[in-house]
């Protein structure tokens, strides 16, 4: 049986084990403290691993951040406190917030008091970060940047030069640092290549050129192997639009 967030490789990477030991050195209770994030909510949870009574008290706070270009900004101008007692398996606290910004993260600190001892847990490190993306592909004039940037899949300049409407052309909402990594950002040479391909009606080649560019560029966060992997579904939307 697997614990929440445990993989078959036996690596549990977004939670912490809360172990209570009595004065004789015997393990009394074991709880697993972890966070979960979805498109609509953020949740701090505990899972009973080995305990014969409820978890006495959990008190903590969380902070909701949004990415604004390259910087994290606190959404609520501070942390929000929560507390819960006599806890069994399941959520300690759930915060309902639909995803909106290009990337959001939740940081929590929780102090668990059980059998007279207190322990503090936090997810403020890269391994236990709780974050979610809000990437999207849509028409340029129908999609806001939401803290990231709108990247024309086929460069706007290439489209307009060849008589296409850039406002209704498809673009991808990307993280700003990823957008800076795309070949067309700041480079007239890259754009010129696409412009020439479109003028020759070599549409397939133009799309392939952009796909290759995404494949050749690094993910600014170092999480994915390249931008093609990171924005895979959004690229497909652009290609088949």
């Amino acid at each position: 049986m697997l614990l929440p967030n445990e993989s078959y490789s036996e690596i549990i990477d977004n939670g912490t084990m809360a172990v209570t030991i009595n004065p004789l050195g015997t393990i009394v209770d074991i709880w697993w403290v972890y966070g979960e994030i979805s498109d609509t909510s953020f949740c701090v949870k505990v899972a009973l691993v080995d305990a014969d009574n409820t978890l006495d008290v959990a008190r903590g706070s969380y902070t909701h951040y949004r990415l604004s270009n390259s910087r994290w900004v606190n959404v609520n101008s501070g942390s929000i406190n929560f507390s819960c007692s006599n806890i069994t398996n399941g959520p300690i606290y759930t915060w309902h917030a639909d995803k909106y910004w290009v990337k959001e993260k939740f940081e929590y600190e929780v102090t668990i008091t059980d059998n007279g001892t207190s322990q503090k847990f936090t997810n403020k490190d890269e391994k236990t970060e709780l974050s979610r993306y809000n990437f999207e592909a849509n028409a340029y004039n129908k999609m806001e940047a939401n803290g990231g940037q709108r990247h024309h899949f086929i460069p706007a300049k290439s489209l307009s030069t060849n008589g296409f409407n850039t406002g209704s052309a498809y673009c991808i909402r990307m993280m700003t640092d990823d957008h800076y990594n795309t070949g067309s950002y700041g480079s007239a040479q890259h754009v010129s290549t696409i412009t020439t391909l479109l003028s020759k009606r070599a549409y397939h080649d133009a799309i392939q050129h952009e796909v290759d560019d995404f494949k050749s560029q690094d993910d600014s966060e170092g999480i994915y192997r390249n931008l093609q992997e990171k924005y895979y579904y959004e690229m497909i939307d652009c290609i088949y639009y």
């Binding site: 004039n141 129908k142 806001e144 940047a145 709108r150 300049k157």
Partner: protein, 179 residues
């Protein structure tokens, strides 16, 4: 707020034209440390494919971004991105390059150089090249207040008009070496 002057045909701040990639890497790192002493100074460099003998390298460090073009082993264009405006003023002929509206900046630079731009409308181009002074200005998209009076434009773009206002200003200001 720190001030950095653009030295025509020379460079911007510690980044100088003619530097090789190793020198540039060290200069970018040092520039970032000087501008933003705290935080993570891990430098990431992304290399574009070479086109017509020119290769762009993209430098990221501690919330700053620089776009440098190399010809062979020598930097021939140094571009600063607008993210720097939170920490420094990039000064071009006494103007703040990232806080001066594009129209005003273009008008001022035309006093010193001819200007090439990439669309039929000088006010709605995305790239401007001032060859005599070796300056290139670039923005992702073009915007001008006159578009607010254009009914067709507003009908099409009303939903994202706040995002468009960002393009009143340039994204990248670059200095080039003399040919």
């Amino acid at each position: 707020m720190k001030h950095i002057n653009i030295d025509l045909h020379v460079g911007i701040g510690l980044l100088k034209l003619g530097m090789n990639p190793e020198q540039m890497k060290a200069a970018v790192l040092q520039q970032c440390k000087e501008l933003v002493p705290t935080g993570n100074h891990r430098l990431a460099i992304s290399e574009d494919r070479e086109i017509n003998g020119i290769q762009y390298r993209r430098y990221f460090c501690n919330h700053l971004f620089f776009l440098i073009a190399f010809k062979g082993d020598s930097a021939v264009e140094i571009g600063f991105n607008k993210l720097i405006k939170d920490t420094a003023v990039i000064s071009l002929y006494g103007m703040d390059a990232f806080a001066t509206p594009a129209e005003q900046l273009i008008l001022a630079l035309k006093e010193f150089s001819s200007c090439r731009y990439d669309s039929d409308d000088e006010l709605l181009s995305t790239e401007y090249e001032f060859d005599e002074i070796g300056i290139r200005l670039w923005r992702q998209d073009a915007f001008h207040p006159k578009l607010l009076l254009d009914e067709d434009y507003m009908n099409m773009m009303y939903r994202v008009i706040d995002d468009m206002r960002e393009f009143l200003y340039f994204d990248i200001v670059a200095v080039r070496s003399k040919d």
